[in-house]
């Protein structure tokens, strides 16, 4: 277990930064709800991992990868975005997850528990965060062009289908990283809320991404500190801090 608060905050910052960065694309791709619903899929994966005594994070990531290939396939093969279907599928997996997760671990799986983060979790988070930043940076121009116009991207010989799959895979990875900090119910929030907050105040894509990363880091760091200070679970604490920032940015936006 990582007991050193400073190291815990550093690992948490990595998760916050990676979530914020990826979230900035999710929000402008108009996939916010998918990002949120996606996190629920992590629960059955974690439950099965616990039964098999392997890392819950690995279980969450496996379940998320399966779900992501499903979303990607549907998005590629239908004209309209299958939002309703996605909603049904994810709620179903949450229900199944609730049934099969062992009772003592359920609360922890749903809302996160930073007391259980191990050194190897920390190392996995470090490696995965670096991977997320590097890969996202590599595909970011093509991803953005696809957001402006799918036709323009394809005409510029961008394989939008492949880029979208890589992107969704990274989202699955970041959601899996977040489960120990904020739990499966709230990890989608960590991807979406800092990005929406940043969008309220950013004037360019560059600052949108920078603000999004900053709000992601601040939410996790302040959330962990508050949860320690007044002994509440870390998940709700982190999410409420991020919502506090969101409200602030909203007032800045309407005041302009």
């Amino acid at each position: 277990m990582i007991t050193n608060l400073i190291i815990l905050l550093l690992v948490g910052s990595l998760v916050g930064a990676a979530s914020g960065y990826l979230g900035s694309f999710m929000v402008v791709k108009r996939m916010s709800l998918v990002g949120d619903a996606l996190s629920h899929v992590a629960l059955p994966g974690m439950a099965i991992a616990m039964m098999l005594s392997v890392s819950p994070m690995l279980g969450a990531f496996t379940a998320l990868t399966i779900a992501i290939v499903g979303i990607w396939y549907l998005a590629e093969h239908s004209e309209i975005y299958p939002e309703a279907l996605v909603g049904v599928f994810f709620t179903a997996s949450l229900a199944i997850g609730l049934l099969i997760t062992p009772e003592p671990e359920l609360f922890e799986a749903l809302f996160g528990n930073i007391e259980t983060i191990t050194i190897s979790d920390g190392i996995a988070i470090l490696v995965a965060s670096v991977l997320i930043f590097v890969l996202t940076r590599i595909i970011s121009k093509r991803l953005l062009l696809g957001i402006v116009s799918e036709d323009l991207a394809k005409a510029g010989s961008v394989n939008t289908s492949k880029i979208n799959l890589i992107y969704l895979f990274l989202v699955g990875l970041v959601v899996a990283l977040g489960v120990k900090f904020v739990g499966t119910l709230l990890t989608g929030a960590l991807v979406i809320i800092p990005a929406v907050t940043a969008k309220n105040i950013a004037k360019s894509i560059k600052w949108f991404q920078i603000y999004s990363i900053i709000f992601g880091v601040l939410s996790v760091v302040m959330g962990i500190l508050i949860s320690r200070l007044i002994s509440i679970p870390s998940g709700p604490s982190i999410v409420l801090v991020s919502i506090f920032f969101f409200l602030g940015s909203y007032f800045v936006k309407i005041a302009k």
Binding site: L144, K199, S204
Partner: protein, 207 residues
């Protein structure tokens, strides 16, 4: 001897269950200008999408191996919400700011040439906040940034005011004079079509 930059043979396109294009054959000579005309719904845009390989079709579309295509889509709708500035959009294709400034002048930001450097209003504006005409010019600039030798223009002057429209076609004429450039454009304006096109393709409903 003039070479063909594009050869289309037996092209048929099914779109939403009905045949939009039926057995179309076409050769486009390098450095020529081709206009595509026809009523709404006759498949002009769909035809372009097939040329670009964006949709499925039957038959052959063969571009010359040296073809470098710049595409200006028809009225793009960009969300006002997207915090992407004009500069950032153009940077998706070109890092060199001098080249960006150069094409912006070409597409008619000419009168404000100094402003591109000093008063960077256009460059800092969100892509989604531009007027229809401005967006069309920016899309034109985007297409030109890749230094193409083929331009596919889907109603390039839709939403552009009349003086801007002239600038556009003058620009095409000027570009063609300076370099090898094949232009294929969709237009409703017969005056423009007759003035600039070497060849006219008319798409119809009746098949």
């Amino acid at each position: 001897m003039a070479t063909d930059i594009l050869t289309v043979s037996n092209l048929s396109i099914d779109f939403d269950g009905h045949e939009v294009i039926d057995d179309l054959n076409l050769d486009v000579v390098r450095d020529s200008t081709v206009a595509v005309i026809g009523p709404n719904g006759s498949g002009k845009t769909v035809f372009f999408k097939a040329l670009l390989g964006l949709i499925d079709y039957a038959g052959q579309v063969n571009w010359h191996k040296e073809a470098k295509i710049g595409y200006v889509p028809q009225k793009l709708s960009v969300s006002k919400d997207l915090p992407l500035t004009v500069m950032e959009f153009l940077e998706l294709k070109e890092k060199d700011h001098h080249k960006i400034t150069e094409v912006l002048r070409l597409v008619g930001f000419k009168n404000k040439a100094e402003h591109i450097h000093h008063d960077v209003r256009v460059l800092k504006t969100r892509l989604g906040s531009l007027s229809g005409g401005e967006l069309q010019r920016i899309m034109m600039a985007y297409a030109l940034l890749g230094d193409p030798n083929v331009l596919l223009l889907d109603e390039p002057t839709a939403g552009v005011d009349i003086s801007g429209e002239e600038t556009f076609y003058e620009l095409f004429a000027k570009l063609k004079k300076d370099k090898d450039l094949t232009i294929i454009f969709i237009s409703h304006d017969l005056e423009v079509v007759n003035k600039y096109a070497d060849k006219i393709i008319k798409l119809t409903h009746d098949h």
